[in-house]
Amino acid sequence: MDDQACPRCKTTKYRNPSLKLMVNVCGHALCESCVDLLFLKGSGSCPDCNVPLRRSNFRVQLFEDPMVEKEIDIRKRVLKDYNKKEEDFATLREYNDYLEEIETIVYNLTNNIDIVGTNKRIEQYKKDNKEIIMKNKAKIGREEVELEEILEIEKQMEELRRQEINRLEQEAKKQKIREKEALIDELMFAEGDAKEILNTFAQNKANKQEELLPAVPKVTQFSTGVKFTRVSTQPTLPLIEEGPLYKYEAPIVPDRCGPDAPSIEDIVRCGYLKHVRAESETEKAGGYKSTLPCLRALQDALAGLYHTS
């Protein structure tokens, strides 16, 4: 069961799939129809906490937890005044303290801790920092204007590109019509074979397309408007120094401390295998050969014979 439900009329998402929960600044949810009913006059109080609310401030609840919505509202309101930037502080430490203060205020207001005191603190701050707040507001306005300018330029570029494409398309269309007319004229007035004329025209067309293809204008920008030249500023990969080449060296055979055992070829040739159990068919399939245990026994017998303590 979906536990999304209106706290007032108890309608659930299950019973009314089109249920839309709305929240206001206090963080208490209401369904759309309850909002319509309660705030017929445009304003009223929250049925949960009696805080006066305005209908226009209701919006669709995005997060499951209405407290999050409330916090977002409060944060928006607080940050309207607490709009200092890092450049406004002498040290990072002060800036961090300032950020922490904001978080404390937001936390207090969200969790209903010392609301009166906190509101007073905000008022005090507003009074103390009136100028800076105004300045920063203006600054934000300026930044927005700059952003808009960039957007405008992008829009113009887009428009130009579209016009270019339109023009090319129309030209191509006209060209086609012209060719068709030429072909018909030729067929009407020329005296050669109709088939031959058709062939020559088809060939001409193919040639022309080949000519056209490489004529695509060189792209100097991404479709988003970002310039290619920006990319090339990245540093090139550093060269890796290569060490000397690997050289194979045969492993050192340790001193067996005894006479040398016969090699595998000798074992086969001198008839050692007559005195060892021959391998069975199944053992052969596994890669086992009776030469191996024979060699091992001989090696073990001979190694260590010279041993002295």
Binding site: E100, R256, C257, Y272, L298, A301, Y306
Partner: protein, 325 residues
């Protein structure tokens, strides 16, 4: 290969005096550690002397042989040889008064079964032991790690059994000896006795194997001297041949000297040992039982650390910037 093994590097000694020195040193260590409150003369009556320890160990080596012989399922020779090696090595660096040979014996055989890939479970293993089997399996498992540590984790043992096979193959191929298989009886008998001596701590397994083959041949009134001088040592110098002849002679004389210790003497020693052994390692003593209980309790103490991450987020808020919303 024996020539590069830890057996040659760490566990093959110069002569019997070196072995006696090592054993005497650890006997003395134990006495000086545990006998500080007893005066000089009394000490000799109370503790075991190195000779007495030696005699006791010889008796237990016989026990080890019997135990392995009667073991069911029957175990391969390699396991027995490896167990003997472990047993001898352990008591080179430990006194019988510290660890009772009865317990170490069973542990050596158990570890040898594992190392030689003779697969028996601990339940199957203790079924071969008379008396309280649960206690026996406890003792074995408790001592196993201690044993490995005392062996310095040098667990690979080069036994003389494969070299014997090698010599027999070689003799059959290169010698005109009639029916070499008849030597087997003599060889097996010889090797059984070799493990009751210190030969495996003094000589290479191939030397012991050759001594066994030569001994068996002489018992069958055959002579393999020409095989040794003309085939094995054809390309080696005279000095090397002399060393080998001396080694073979010594091994054979060691084996000849093997005799089982007098029963009466061993009984007296065992009684003495019951009094002077280290009670901390005696599973029947109160000290041992108490220590085991303490170890068990230690394991049961619940862990009291912070098990979950704390929910303190104060560190996070300082990093949030106001433009984050």
């Amino acid at each position: 290969m024996f020539s590069t093994s830890s057996q040659r590097k760490f566990w093959t000694y110069r002569d019997e005096d070196e072995l006696a020195d090592l054993r005497g040193k650890h006997n003395l260590n134990y006495i000086s550690k545990h006998g500080a409150h007893i005066d000089e003369i009394q000490r000799y009556n109370f503790f075991l002397s190195p000779d007495e320890e030696r005699l006791l160990l010889k008796q237990y080596e016989l026990h080890l042989k019997e135990f392995c012989k009667r073991f069911s399922p029957p175990m391969p020779k390699g396991v027995v040889g490896t167990a003997f090696h472990y047993f001898k090595r352990f008591y080179l660096y430990n006194s019988t008064m510290d660890y009772h040979p009865k317990e170490i014996l069973a542990t050596c055989v158990y570890l040898a079964c594992k190392v030689e890939e003779f697969n028996v479970s601990i339940g199957q293993f203790v079924a071969n032991i008379k008396g309280d089997r649960d206690k026996a399996s406890d003792i074995i498992l408790n001592n196993e790690l201690l044993l490995m540590q005392q062996l310095n984790y040098h667990l690979t043992i080069h036994n003389p059994f494969r070299p014997v096979e090698g010599f027999l193959i070689d003799i059959k191929t290169r010698c005109s000896l009639a029916n070499p298989e008849r030597l087997r009886g003599g060889i097996d008998e010889f090797l059984e006795k070799v493990f009751l001596t210190d030969a495996c701590l003094l000589y290479a397994p191939s030397q012991i194997a050759l001594a066994a083959v030569l001994h068996a041949a002489s018992k069958e009134q055959e002579n393999l001297d020409s095989y040794v001088t003309d085939m094995l040592f054809r390309d080696a110098g005279q000095d090397k041949l002399a060393i080998l002849i001396e080694a073979v002679r010594k091994i054979r004389s060691l084996v000849k000297m093997v005799e089982s210790p007098a029963r009466e003497k061993v009984r007296i020693i065992e009684k003495k040992l019951d009094r002077c052994r280290n009670q901390e390692n005696n599973p029947d003593s109160e000290i041992y039982k108490r220590r085991m209980r303490e170890l068990l309790d230690e394991d049961d103490i619940p862990h009291t650390g912070p098990s979950r991450m704390s929910l303190d987020t104060s560190g996070v808020t300082t990093v949030l910037s106001p433009s984050a919303s």
